[in-house]
Symmetry: C2
Subunit: 562 residues, 2 copies
């Protein structure tokens, strides 16, 4: 810290120098004392430096409003928003988000350490603190054909980066409990925090994970599960995102007894969800409105708690010495964010966002991120099945599937469609084929390069020609989602960054996504399912019963191909 900087903060705090800005007449949430208090909030060089009576070059009259510390998302995969980091920040800054702790797991599955480096560079200097945890499980399983295999030595150099806070969610709890060599190397090499991901883990296995240093969990879906983990010392990151929502189950933790060990996170936020509901402001709103949580406690879990967990000593409070990252809300029931200050500058004001440039990663890195399809154009012959193959049965509202037997050909009349997973990272030529039932598509094909966790190219269709066409359209775009019918594109979302994200504004991206969804539904996809998300999970080899990977139909329970 520069001495002259310190001097200026002191001069302003002591009242001898004018503040850059003063927020007047508002209430503010004091996350330390659990109160809403009043006082001028004086800002100098990006920090709050005083609460009391101050004058400033700019003064904001905030009568009737409440100033909250900028919100912190304790665990998110930015890639799930489909938006490039700058676009994500443009969409969430207006919701009062000041900091996120991101796990670049998806892009690392495509680009390896290049993906981590890309995200670091693409977030440098953004008007939001984007911190990272280093992906611990790339690929997610040995059955995945991802773009990279990251071991402990690969990720180790990134701990030097000032915005890297630790090792991201250790999904391989089984490997931890079994003391798997490669897993131990990652745990032993970790610096900072180690996040957990262990749905349902309990008893000695939970003890093994906490003894090994895993300090948080965001997968709790019942109060009992969360209480056991909290009692064993893990921080409970209460997740309320798009795909998984645990606030209803875990809201009873939001009392003074437990809240000091809880923080909020989203894990995944999809475009429409971000645009329509919001981000951490939405979690606060729901906690207060639906579950009667003390609003000040909710704000604390949405700000200071995560900062404390990660050791961020200037984040998460309205107090001298803390970053002047502030969210001004209408009241502590509705949490409508009216203004957002970033380092003391008013960046969002009643619907208007001050624009900022997107950071520019190195040209070579940018080029590499936009060139992740290492495969030739496909033809109908690539999708030809020489023998009967397993049929994945979809279950509405779930990501599990049923084993629906075998089929010899697609038959849209019986809702049997062909599905293919095409390896796209290394040009292996691997194409896994199978069938899927319950998707509902009557004609054409749907293809996507968002396919957890290895993000190969998935396509499902009524016929081989249609499948080749849709897949080639994704390849031509260097990533994205395509709905096709009769040799024409009926809906498309281009995701040119690693096949996962787009640099366009989230509103435009979402419009394209909704239009593509409409096209998919128009072509018969069942209304009860998300046409693209459903496909995205069909290649994740850890979820029962059947999955399809680049090598064919897999029985996930037996971890064996049919």
């Amino acid at each position: 810290m520069e001495q002259e900087q310190l001097r200026h903060w002191i001069e302003v705090a002591a009242g001898r120098a004018e503040a850059d800005a003063v927020l007047k007449n508002a209430g503010y949430v004091n996350v330390f004392s659990g109160e809403v208090l009043h006082g001028d909030i004086a800002i100098a060089d990006g920090r709050v430096v005083g609460i009391g009576t101050y004058r400033g070059r700019v003064e904001y009259n905030l009568t009737g409003r409440v100033v909250c510390p900028g919100f912190v998302d304790a665990h998110i995969h930015l890639e799930s928003s489909l938006a490039a980091p700058a676009a994500f920040v443009r969409a969430t800054l207006r919701h009062g988000t000041a900091a996120v702790v991101a796990d670049p797991h998806e892009i690392a599955n495509v680009l390896g350490t290049g993906g981590i480096e890309y995200m670091l560079q693409a977030t440098e200097g953004l008007p939001m603190d984007v911190y990272f945890m280093l992906p611990s499980c790339v690929p997610a399983t040995p059955l995945d054909e991802a773009g990279a295999v990251l071991d402990a030595a690969d990720i180790a150099p990134f701990y030097e980066h000032p915005r890297v806070l630790g090792l991201a969610e250790m999904m391989n709890a089984f490997g931890v409990v079994q003391a798997d060599e490669a897993v131990l190397a990652k745990l032993a090499g970790a610096r900072g925090r180690i996040d957990g991901h262990a749905p349902g883990l309990s008893g000695p296995a939970l003890c093994a994970c906490t003894a090994a240093g895993i300090a948080s969990d965001h997968e709790c879906s019942t109060l009992d599960e969360a209480l056991e983990k909290l009692r064993r010392g893990q921080y409970i990151l209460i997740r309320e995102g798009t795909a998984a929502r645990n606030l209803a189950a875990l809201a009873p933790l939001l009392t003074p007894q437990y809240a000091h060990r809880c923080a909020f996170c989203t894990d995944d936020k999809h475009p429409s969800d971000l645009l329509e509901l919001g981000h951490m402001d939405y979690i606060c709103r729901r906690a207060v409105q639906d579950f009667g949580v003390d609003p000040v406690l909710a704000v604390r879990c949405a700000s200071l708690s995560a900062a404390q967990y990660f050791g961020l000593r200037h984040t998460g409070a309205v107090a001298p010495g803390y970053w002047a990252d502030l969210a001004v809300v209408d009241n502590l029931q509705d949490f409508r964010v009216e203004q957002v200050f970033r380092r003391g500058r008013l960046l969002f004001d009643h619907g208007q966002l001050a624009d900022f440039p997107a950071p520019k990663p190195d040209a070579a890195l940018e080029a590499r991120a936009r060139d992740t399809f290492r495969l030739p154009p496909l033809t109908a012959a690539d999708f030809q099945a020489r023998k009967p193959l397993g049929v994945l049965g979809l279950v509405p509202g779930e990501i599990i599937t049923t084993d629906n037997g075998m089929a010899a050909a697609a038959d849209p009349d019986r809702d049997i469609l062909k599905i293919a997973v095409i390896e796209r990272h290394r040009g292996t030529g691997h194409i896994g084929l199978g069938y899927v039932q319950g998707y509902g598509l009557r004609r054409g094909a749907v293809a996507t390069s968002v396919a957890h966790d290895s993000h190969n190219l998935i396509v499902v269709g009524a016929g081989d020609e249609e499948m080749a066409f849709a897949a080639n359209q994704v390849i031509t775009r260097r990533g994205g989602i395509v709905v096709a019918d009769g040799g024409a594109v009926t809906g498309a979302v281009t995701l040119e960054l690693a096949g996962l994200m787009s640099a366009q504004p989230l509103e435009a991206l979402n419009a394209a996504l909704e239009a593509a969804k409409a096209a998919a539904y128009a072509q018969g996809v069942c209304r009860g399912i998300d046409p693209f998300m459903t496909l995205s999970f069909l290649s994740l080899p850890v979820i029962p019963q059947l999955r399809v990977t680049t090598r064919g139909v897999l029985d996930a329970a037996r971890q064996a191909y049919l």
Copy 2:
């Protein structure tokens, strides 16, 4: 962290390998959930690794007992115990103390950076985690003639030490608020936490200090003061020591609303207080018995809270991954510590302490620490006053003094005694003289080398010969407290380490101290005052009204010599 170490912890936690030790049938304090829970506590290689059902090579049946995390003192000057670090640890380990955060301010005033180095070496490998904050104010004021002047550059190298956690209490709040250059350099150069010390500070001045990074305060004496500091973001270190006791005033903070920002500390603990009352166990006991505090919350403030404040991630809880530093108490009302585990080993068991060697600092450093009297023997002539001098009036129970006018000679019948402060660090020959009223000594003299903060040699006496004799006795001993009468020593405590501490066991030290006190009282010292502590504060040049330093009688309010 070694991978093989990690593997073993996991093997034991998972139940595949036997624990080193298992604590069975006890309740334990869960500082995360605020409960007393039950379960076997399994220990492996110094850590708690499992809570549940375990078997171990050694099993302890603790039926009816409660296991607490080992206690943490968030702020203490070890020197105040008069005991060398190993002796201090022998005395406090039995009270369940697992860690202390010490400010070696006193010894640094004598030995400069050598004092810091001495304390680091003298605590290396002790069965207690002794962390340090680096002294921020040596000397305490420009009027002090201390053994060293430490600036920012002097202390900077010590931040590299793994047991150094930051910058110790910044007592010069005035300098911070005034943005004093040397003070700013220390703040700007600090790494880790910066502790505060600012009694009564509020308003813009408090904001200036918190904006400057001062993150705690242990000087709050009223609830309002503590609440204001807590609201501004400072951690409140609730002090209950020997000289200052704030628990009664601050106990209302010990609720779930505020306790997450509070920790316990002692600041100073004198020998008899440590031996008779205890340490952090005593604070818990008082909090519960006298102020009705929830015992689990009290334990949290005595353990996890300080660990969190200082970022010690394996300290302060009974949970997998935490150090197996445990205090077994009879119950959560009386907090009688029956057994103490350190890194899983039972070191204290129903009155019996397993002995351990005292660390041996480098020979040269040890020699230097035992050679801090740089002055020739004194004679009566050194105490001869050539003109009338100011009279310090003692106030029973306070450390302030009154201005009792001038005197030309000692007159025990009127309770006017001569007092001298003799510079002992650099051989300057400076001797400041004055008079003191209200001490009560009828004959002989009392001398001490514990004299805040510069620890020169103070002597008070009925006559110049008596003063020279007592002072020379301290010099001969290379430090300590001497009561003399008619050319004979009537009571003495040898403090051979920097003139501040003794390596002998605290019990023996305390016996000598009590005997010396009895001698002082027998020679007339007023019963209402501590004969030695009272003297120790008379040279502290910041406390009104009159003080005496190596340069004579000072009006502290005007900061000018009479």
